[in-house]
């Protein structure tokens, strides 16, 4: 029986197939000189097979991660074993443009890479094939999903009107802060405050004016926050602030600053001047505080004392 032979015509269409297949195909020798460069590579790089033939790949593409690629091809030559790389490891090997330059969301082509050893007739491996798959759509979908999840997470814990944390998430933070306090005994305080006679603002000027007042209070509050402070809208006109590394005295300074700034605000709504104030209550966590609910309740009691004392003032809960 004779060896199966491929006639020249067959060889021609076999080559044609490799040329036109929609994945990148590059064959390198041990010195990383290019032996094969198919039309996918030609189209995306702008270099023809003739321009790349026997050229060193690192001379033609200076942006290639040389050490990394040499390490990979080195182990493929040594172990005669295929090596795989995903876009999650490294978004691309060759910096090619997105296949869909108009409607695509990503600026470049994400790639999965396979490096295969190519055996010669004598069993030795003197060449490797680098196969480049375009996985831009997969990567774009995954990235979009992650971004959407992140946005959802933010949305689910943000108050729409004030952009402060909503009650659920703020209480979660408060509970965590209290656990931290119990574990490390770091000083911390919680503040509760609300807008004095808010119902009157609503009744006199309408709900939209009320909303505007709430927005302005949040703005003053946000402006005075330090990076580690956590503020939330607790209820209609009620707000809470967690102050880490802060004792009752320092919290008092913070509260008084907020109170004075708010009292000084001149809000004009549809031509009418609205003046309003806030009452505040502070509680510092101490050894006898049993849980975060009690801690918050104590701040609420101090707030009640401020109301009783004539409003537009701050009180601290006495342990």
């Amino acid at each position: 029986m004779s060896e199966p032979t491929i006639d020249i015509k067959e060889f021609h269409w076999l080559m044609e197939m490799l040329q036109t297949i929609d994945v990148g195909l590059v064959v390198l020798d041990k010195e990383h000189n290019i032996n094969v460069w198919n039309s996918f590579m030609e189209s995306h790089s702008g270099l023809t097979p003739l321009q790349t033939k026997d050229k060193n790949i690192f001379d033609l593409f200076e942006e290639l991660p040389k050490d990394w690629l040499m390490h990979k091809t080195g182990s493929v030559f040594m172990l005669k074993n295929r090596s795989f790389m995903t876009w999650e490891q490294r978004p691309y090997l060759f910096k090619f443009k997105n296949n869909r330059p108009i409607t695509g969301t990503e600026p470049f082509m994400y790639q999965n890479i396979t490096i295969s050893p190519l055996g010669s007739t004598d069993g030795s491996v003197n060449h490797v094939a680098i196969i480049i798959y375009d996985v831009t759509d997969i990567a774009a979908n995954r990235n979009a999903l992650e971004k959407a999840n992140l946005e959802l997470e933010t949305l689910s814990r943000t108050d729409r009107l004030t952009q402060l944390n909503n009650r659920g998430y703020w209480e979660e933070c408060l509970s965590k802060e209290f656990s931290r306090y119990q574990r490390y005994k770091t000083t911390c305080s919680v503040i509760m405050f609300d807008i004095d006679h808010f119902k009157k603002v609503n009744d006199t000027y309408g709900h939209q004016a009320g909303d505007e007042v709430i927005r302005l209070v949040s703005k003053v509050l946000t402006k005075n926050l330090r990076a580690t402070d956590i503020a939330g809208r607790y209820g209609g006109e009620e707000f809470g602030v967690i102050l880490g590394n802060t004792d009752a005295e320092a919290a008092m300074i913070f509260c008084e600053r907020v109170r004075e700034e708010i009292a000084a605000l001149d809000v004009t709504y549809e031509g009418q001047l609205i003046k309003f104030t806030v009452s505040l209550g502070i509680s510092q966590a101490v050894d006898s505080t049993p849980d975060y609910v009690t801690w918050l309740n104590q701040a609420d009691q101090a707030l009640y004392a401020s109301k009783e004392g004539g409003r537009n003032q701050t009180n601290t809960f006495k342990h």
């Binding site: 040594m78 172990l79 074993n81 295929r82 090596s83 795989f84 995903t86 999650e88 490891q89």
Partner: protein
């Protein structure tokens, strides 16, 4: 003069293959042992002037057996037959007194040549065809009932050795080889088997599908996260060990172990597998979160579990080869040559 020959291997398939590979015209009496302790006893009874010894066995492994033979000065010549083809394994058994090391699966030609080299056997004059085979009596022990599981275990054993050899060469270390665990598992059992590991530790894993000759499945490589520091050291990665570097290391080791193992199995089944691109299942997660098994689509899986550990380093990883239920028949057919 009839020579007493002892074959020591825990696998019935390997015992049978070994017995079949011995020259037909060699005047010997054969005994079998399933592990080192049995082998030592048989040698003391004078049943093992020549010992063919496997390395990875329960009760007493090949290394301990060699140590004991030397310590007790037992009269035997040991030829190690193992799937562990790491150069270091080769060197260690020679240092422990083995006269030669042959890799599994071995062939008649390799074996006769070796036996001739040591003057243990001389082929009879004339062509093999007209030399009547010498009747070989089995003195002690038995090949044992060959079961399908044994065949798979032996195939896994050889493939695992090939993979370990590549890893050893890449990292320049000695890889400790276990006895592969072969089980037909229900889906729920698979989850249980996976969660048996420390519940507090976190893991990273990649999976890669393979298919060919009506056999398909997935390879899962599960790394304990505490391994990364040492792997980075061995692969000479400098700088901070962040998620990206860990992913890089994970993929590198996965390419080697999964590639070599599935290739090794395919070779022995006389076929080849196409491999899909590896997919990251998760980084720094509990094992129970790695596999969200599609329990509705399949009920049973044939699982080969191989735990690789690297000597003197805090590195351990689990390679799981999971074959689908509908692959088992085709696997069976391809294995029949080992069973008859």
């Amino acid at each position: 003069m009839t020579i007493p020959v002892l074959i020591c291997d825990d696998s019935s398939v390997a015992r049978k293959q070994m017995a079949r590979t011995l020259p037909d015209d060699w005047d010997i009496e054969i005994s079998f042992a399933k592990h080192g302790e049995e082998a030592l006893a048989a040698i003391k009874e004078g049943l093992g002037d020549i010992l063919f010894l496997d390395l990875n066995m329960p009760v007493m492994d090949g290394y301990e057996t060699l140590e004991n033979i030397a310590k007790q000065n037992l009269p035997t010549m040991v030829i190690v037959v193992s799937g562990d083809i790491q150069p270091e394994a080769h060197k260690r058994v020679k240092d422990l007194g083995a006269i030669e090391f042959i890799k599994k699966p071995t062939s008649k030609e390799v074996l006769s040549e070796l036996l001739e080299k040591f003057g243990l056997y001389r082929p009879t004059e004339g062509t093999a065809a007209n030399t009547p085979p010498v009747e070989k009596t089995i003195v002690k022990g038995e090949i044992g009932q060959i079961e399908y599981r044994d065949c798979i275990q032996e195939i896994a054993n050889v493939a695992m050795g090939q993979a370990a050899d590549l890893l050893a060469r890449l990292l320049n270390v000695f890889v400790k080889l276990p006895i592969p665990n072969v089980n037909l598992l229900e889906v729920s059992e698979l989850e249980m088997a996976l969660t048996q590991t420390e519940s507090s530790a976190t893991y990273s894993a990649v999976c890669q599908g393979f298919i060919g000759a009506g056999i398909c499945g997935e390879a899962l490589l599960i790394f304990s996260d505490s391994s990364f520091e040492d792997i980075a050291k061995l692969l000479k990665y400098k700088g901070e060990l962040n998620r990206m570097v860990e992913l890089e290391l994970l993929m590198e080791v996965a390419s080697i172990l999964v590639g070599a193992c599935t290739n090794g199995i395919a070779q022995q089944l006389d076929t080849s597998f196409s491999q899909g691109h590896p997919v990251v299942l998760g980084q720094h997660v509990k094992v129970s979160n790695l596999i969200k098994a599609n329990s509705k689509r399949w009920k049973k899986t044939l699982a080969i579990e191989i735990t690789y550990e690297i000597e003197n380093y805090n590195i351990s990883c689990d390679l799981l080869l999971l074959f689908t239920e509908d692959s088992i028949d085709n696997l069976n057919k391809r294995l029949s040559y080992l069973m008859d």
